[in-house]
């Protein structure tokens, strides 16, 4: 997605720039960089309204001027992606880029060309998810990968024998990257763009969600509804210190803890949907 960059000049610089940032945050501006003369502010181009910015400036104290330019979308992560190291999850998986040679010492080979999406296995949470996924029985199961990023978990699930795999992500670049990586791995996976509502009435035997605590807390009940009784909901993307809050919410929904695992500060929760009496 393209962004608009507003380069603001403020007189006096402070507190004008600070107040400006505070107000721009209400106009959907996402991030800011302080400069010697004011501040640079960034907004996704589909949310930008220059009129609103002009109106806002009128109401603020101090002299505020700006220049506005559009920044074309590009893969800012290209430098890291160009020479990343493969990731090994015990002897279960090796996640590698197309420029790495295949290594037959591993049970499963996964090709990932990330293109600015999350999920190469370098992060503790992806590693934990792959490790846990490997030990679940996926044969014949229907699997959901919620917030798929690169699609690494969906691809792994398919390679482990899942019958049907559905992946979704709300971000444009993740949605497209999941599709690209599925093609690289020559597997069949259905991909949708959007949030949890895209799954409709589908029911899954295993749901995988490596997102963050806030999204998991708000989507947990939708995941539970879409899970077979006896099915697994495997969550990550949060810290060890968040486990208790998530576990309490899970218990209220009839989910029982099957396993809690951690790597450094990050944690994974494997939950089972129990029969409600």
């Amino acid at each position: 997605m393209n962004y608009f960059l507003y380069r603001f000049t403020c007189k006096p610089v402070q507190p004008t720039a600070e107040i400006l940032v505070t107000m721009l945050a209400y106009l959907e501006f996402e991030s800011f960089v302080s400069t010697e003369v004011g501040v640079e502010a960034y907004i996704p181009s589909n949310l930008d309204s220059e009129e609103e910015v002009k109106d806002l400036i009128q109401t603020l104290e101090g002299e505020i001027d700006y220049r506005r330019e559009e920044i074309e979308d590009e893969n800012w992560n290209a430098q890291w992606e160009a020479d990343y190291e493969p990731v090994c999850v015990k002897d279960k998986f090796r996640v590698r880029a197309p420029f790495h040679e295949v290594d037959l010492a591993f049970e499963h080979d996964i090709l990932i060309q990330p293109q600015m999406s999350f999920g190469t296995g370098h992060h503790e949470t992806t590693w934990l998810m792959l490790d846990e996924l490997h030990d679940l029985s996926l044969n014949g199961n229907s699997i959901l990968d919620a917030g798929s990023g690169t699609g690494v978990l969906a691809i792994a699930a398919r390679k482990l024998g899942a019958n049907r795999v559905l992946a979704y992500d709300i971000e444009d670049w993740a949605f497209e990257n999941t599709i690209d990586n599925i093609a690289l791995n020559e597997v069949e996976i259905e991909v949708l763009k959007g949030d949890v509502s895209v799954i409709g009435e589908s029911i899954f035997g295993v749901i995988l969600a490596n997102i963050n605590k806030n999204v998991l807390m708000s989507d947990m009940s939708a995941f539970t509804k879409a899970l077979e009784t006896g099915g697994h909901l495997v969550l990550s993307g949060f810290f060890k210190t968040d486990v208790e809050e998530l576990t309490v919410a899970a218990a209220d929904l009839g989910l029982e803890v099957a396993a809690v695992k951690s790597k450094n500060d990050w944690a994974l929760l494997n939950l089972i949907k129990i029969e409600l009496r």
């Binding site: 960059l5 505070t22 945050a25 996402e30 800012w76 600015m116």
Partner: protein
């Protein structure tokens, strides 16, 4: 051996909302850092302050690793919260739209002391009170600086 610093990056990002777009993407990407790794960590660490503007200082090392510290929100953000306002005054020059107490000003000043060029809490309080006035927020009660 201590890691060698290759650069410091200072940004302000909404809590829980870092993504690989500009300015995060170009700033970190140019240094060869895995941007997605930063976003995941930043969003997890700031999830309880979702949507609030947070200053962050990222230290990038020559081995492409990084660490970062998240600071308290800018005084203006804290003032809006203290005054229980959704946004600042639309007519700040003419009309006051909210109130904070001097105790609240002191609290905000204390939380911002490490980031301000102030040697005393009193001078930080004066700065915060000045920001409040510019935003159309009245500082209520006896002014501790007037005798």
């Amino acid at each position: 051996m201590a890691r060698e610093v290759s650069g410091l990056i200072k940004l302000q990002i909404k809590g829980g909302a870092a993504n690989p777009s500009p300015p995060v993407g170009p700033a970190l990407g140019a240094k060869g850092v895995n941007i997605m790794e930063f976003c995941k960590q930043f969003n997890a660490r700031t999830q309880d302050q979702a949507g609030k503007v947070l200053p962050v200082v990222i230290t990038v090392y020559t081995d492409k690793s990084f660490d970062f510290i998240v600071k308290t929100p800018p005084a203006a953000v804290q003032l809006l919260e203290a005054a229980k306002l959704k946004s600042g005054s639309a007519e700040s020059n003419r009309q006051k739209v909210g109130n904070v107490s001097w105790d609240q000003v002191r609290e905000i000043a204390e939380s911002k002391m490490p980031d301000l060029n102030c040697f005393t809490v009193e001078s930080a309080m004066k700065m915060v009170a000045g920001t409040a006035r510019s935003m159309g927020i009245n500082v209520k009660g006896k002014n501790p600086f007037n005798g």
